[in-house]
């Protein structure tokens, strides 16, 4: 009887380990950007291509940057959540239109509603690379000093907004 206990325990430990592994999402790669200054960009705006926008314009404010594209299916799923977040006025929401055609991006906002104060236009995805974007949509919460405090890979849900984004925005707003 005794001789079975050790292998059985080892087997149970292995099963437990693999079981925990199954609950993890391998696509959620921890971002090294958390706690680091938001990478610098200066990009044309989506609506008015002659005007530019840079992350420096937002120093002193807590804000949310959402990476989106008209070709991105999950963005469609996320869109109502963003509209609600924008309507609540809790935090300024800016968009980064990633590797999109300008007319497609504009048509998307026209058809589905525009939750963003403004969107910037990253045609070749260079700024996306600087922000470590690899799956759209992605969302960043940036604090008053321009430091990235939170990153969400994949669509925002109402739960995430309520439990993570809004409390963090409030906390950062007090600081």
């Amino acid at each position: 009887m005794n001789r079975f206990i050790l292998p059985l325990a080892a087997f149970a430990a292995l099963i437990a380990l693999l079981g925990v592994g199954l609950t993890l999402n391998p696509r959620e790669v921890p971002s090294p950007l958390i706690g680091k200054p938001a990478p610098h960009f200066e990009l044309p705006q989506l609506h008015e291509g002659a005007k530019t926008f840079t992350e420096k314009d937002m120093l002193g404010k807590v804000w949310v940057l959402n990476v989106w594209a008209s070709w991105c299916v999950s963005c469609r799923e996320e869109h109502p959540v963003l509209l609600d977040l924008a309507a609540s006025g809790a935090v300024p929401l800016y968009g980064l239109n990633y590797k999109d055609k300008r007319e497609d991006g504009l048509a998307w906002l026209k058809g589905m509603g525009d939750p963003y104060r403004l969107s910037i236009y990253d045609f070749d995805g260079k700024v996306g690379i600087d922000y470590g974007v690899y799956g759209v949509p992605e969302t960043y919460v940036i604090d008053k000093l321009g430091v990235i405090r939170y990153k969400r890979i994949g669509p925002l849900t109402r739960e995430i907004v309520k439990d993570k984004v809004l409390p963090l925005v409030q906390e950062l707003g007090r600081a």
């Binding site: 790669v29 090294p32 590797k99 470590g132 994949g154 669509p155």
Partner: protein, 168 residues
């Protein structure tokens, strides 16, 4: 979870076939080239591919940047090429990638406190296996060589003698 994987498409195979057909039709004997921007400098291209083979494609995860056809992988290869043209060393480019995507982009994880188990785990398991094996072998050897008491020896000798007497 439903997530867009940067337009990752399953067409890479049909694309490859089309490319092969095209290249064999247009230029017989010339090997098919990748659709990525062709570099005039083959040595540079070699360097790009060698380094890309060390980096993970974030979209496909189990492919290297060199293997992947995902648009992001293409962009990142172009980024690597551009940096090399500007004279960046391989380790500078690796640092550039790690700063954006974390250690996960490296196919050879760095040796850190958090990765000690990753590096030595298999060795530990091997050592544990040897310990178990050694203990079993020693136990078996002991069982095959039992101690005999004096009376047992005497009885064995009698039996052997009896056998010999019978045979005679």
């Amino acid at each position: 979870m439903l997530r867009d994987v940067l337009k990752e498409e399953g067409h890479s195979f049909s694309r490859l076939v089309a490319l092969l057909l095209l290249s064999s039709a247009l230029a017989p004997g010339v090997p098919a080239k990748e659709a990525a921007p062709a570099a005039a400098d083959p040595a540079l291209e070699q360097r790009v591919m060698t380094l890309s083979a060390e980096l993970r494609c974030l979209v496909c995860q189990n492919q290297t940047l060199a293997d992947s056809n995902a648009p992001l992988a293409e962009d990142l290869r172009n980024q690597v090429r551009e940096k090399m043209r500007q004279g960046a060393s391989d380790s500078e480019i690796v640092d550039y990638m790690v700063a954006r995507y974390g250690d996960f982009v490296l196919y050879r994880p760095p040796f850190k406190l958090t990765t000690v188990l990753l590096w030595f785990g298999p060795l530990l398991l091997l050592a544990a296996g040897f310990v178990v094996l050694l203990r079993r072998v020693l136990r078996r050897r002991r069982a095959q060589d039992p101690e005999m008491t004096a009376s047992e020896r005497k009885r064995a000798a009698e039996l052997l003698a009896g056998n010999e007497a019978e045979r005679r």
